[in-house]
Symmetry: C2
Subunit: 231 residues, 2 copies
DNA sequence: GAATGGTGATACCGATCGGTAGCGTCGTCA
DNA sequence: TGACGACGCTACCGATCGGTATCACCATTC
């Protein structure tokens, strides 16, 4: 591989959701099986470290069937990231919902969720960041999905900061995004069970909010939402 | 590649600086040529995306010579990260030196340097983070070098925060590290020429420091230090 | 002038890469 | 019962992977 991958993504990606082949009517969970296995391996080991044969072995689906559902390995990679993106926002929304109405509490609930997320066993960072770093072509689907994902995160943070009414909302939203992306790449460096505290107190400082008079850490009331996938 | 790489790093790495073969007396810059080329390609495209043949072509050094200086490709990867580590701290120290004595000004100078660093053309994130993400084996040299690098960064930040005398020094140091790692992965999302402002104002908020009365952004006086490599 | 040692060129190794062809099987539906 | 579609299996493709063996060349050193 002497040169970087050519920019053929743009044309091809136009069709049905980043190369995902049309799902056939009688499909019985094969697409899901392949995608679930590939997602797990891609996240745990990195995209380029996982060969198609490995996915075939682990999923129990035939190589030929895999290629009936995903035109190329890159299509599988794109589907992985799209799926992570969807699940991430689902959980984000759920975290916020518990505190809906009060933007400060929403933000705290969000950071509590992220703090727990990055402290999980097997957490290996944000898949969007990790995978995008493996490809240098700016037109590669992974790069585009990451860009969209991170732009969406900024917009959501910006909306919360706007509702809180702090000054320099753009800068503060960027600062919150830096904190969160930093947490994603922290790789277990944050103290055990301290990630949430560190994130929340940082956010309060950035927003100029004094911590509640009583207890030290002020968690969101609702500790639920603790499902799995990475982010 | 069905299974992850075996953990053979530990034993082998004992010898001379992560696999780097003994440099021969009459060596005339060949090691440097290879390492410089490999570093550039690894950083720009990712380690697994760059084959040895590519490095051979770009460097103009024979494949056999390359393997006389580096026992394996992984040795080259480790040497790349070690070198990035050294250059990073050299520049870090230089950035701090301009404001030596006043820890707040040191921190501001540091963040100014980082803000400019991540805004450079061709900046593609922190090589330690990027490369470590490509390997799942915790014993891989890349993982260990990253861990050491990031631990060192925390310690340096902690020392500055201690000198400033803010409360919760550990938490604040972690928060600064999150900001910086977040900036490293920001991939051009921060506003043009605004990275430094955003980092510095965040740091002041975290430290409870009011911005200087006069101008809005309060850069470190000394805009020098602008050399190249990534971080 | 011989020994030494770093270099380059070529040719090769086995393994794995992403991806495909061909064929047989089985379940569903008309 | 026959067509159809999803699937598994085997075997294969050319390309590239990381790494090595061999040998000739050339500069330095004694």
């Amino acid at each position: 591989m002497i040169s970087s991958r050519p920019s053929i993504w743009a044309q091809a990606a136009v069709r049905s959701g980043y190369f995902l082949k049309a799902v056939h009517a009688r499909d019985s969970g094969t697409t899901e099986r392949v995608l679930a296995t590939a997602s797990r391996l891609f996240y745990a080991h990195g995209v380029r470290a996982v060969g198609v044969e490995w996915i075939v072995q682990e999923s129990g689906i035939a190589r030929t069937s895999l290629y009936r559902h995903f035109a190329t390995k890159d299509a599988l990679v794109a589907a992985f990231l799209e799926r992570e993106d969807r699940e991430f926002w689902t959980q984000w929304s759920a975290a916020v919902r518990a505190a809906a109405g009060d933007p400060v509490r929403e933000l705290m609930a969000l950071l509590d969720w992220i703090g727990r997320r990055v402290s999980r066993n097997g957490y290996r960072g944000c898949p969007q960041i990790n995978v995008a770093a493996e490809f240098s072509d700016p037109d590669h689907p992974a790069r585009k999905i990451r860009a969209r994902h991170k732009a969406a995160m900024f917009e959501r943070l910006k909306a919360i900061v706007d509702r809180i009414g702090a000054g320099h909302a753009d800068d503060v939203a960027h600062q919150l995004a830096l904190l969160i992306d930093g947490a994603f790449t922290s790789d277990g460096r944050l103290p055990r069970a301290g990630a949430t505290r560190i994130l929340q107190s940082a956010a309060r400082a950035l927003l100029g909010i004094h911590p509640p008079r009583g207890a030290g850490s002020a968690h969101a009331k609702d500790p639920a939402i603790g499902r799995s996938p990475p982010g």
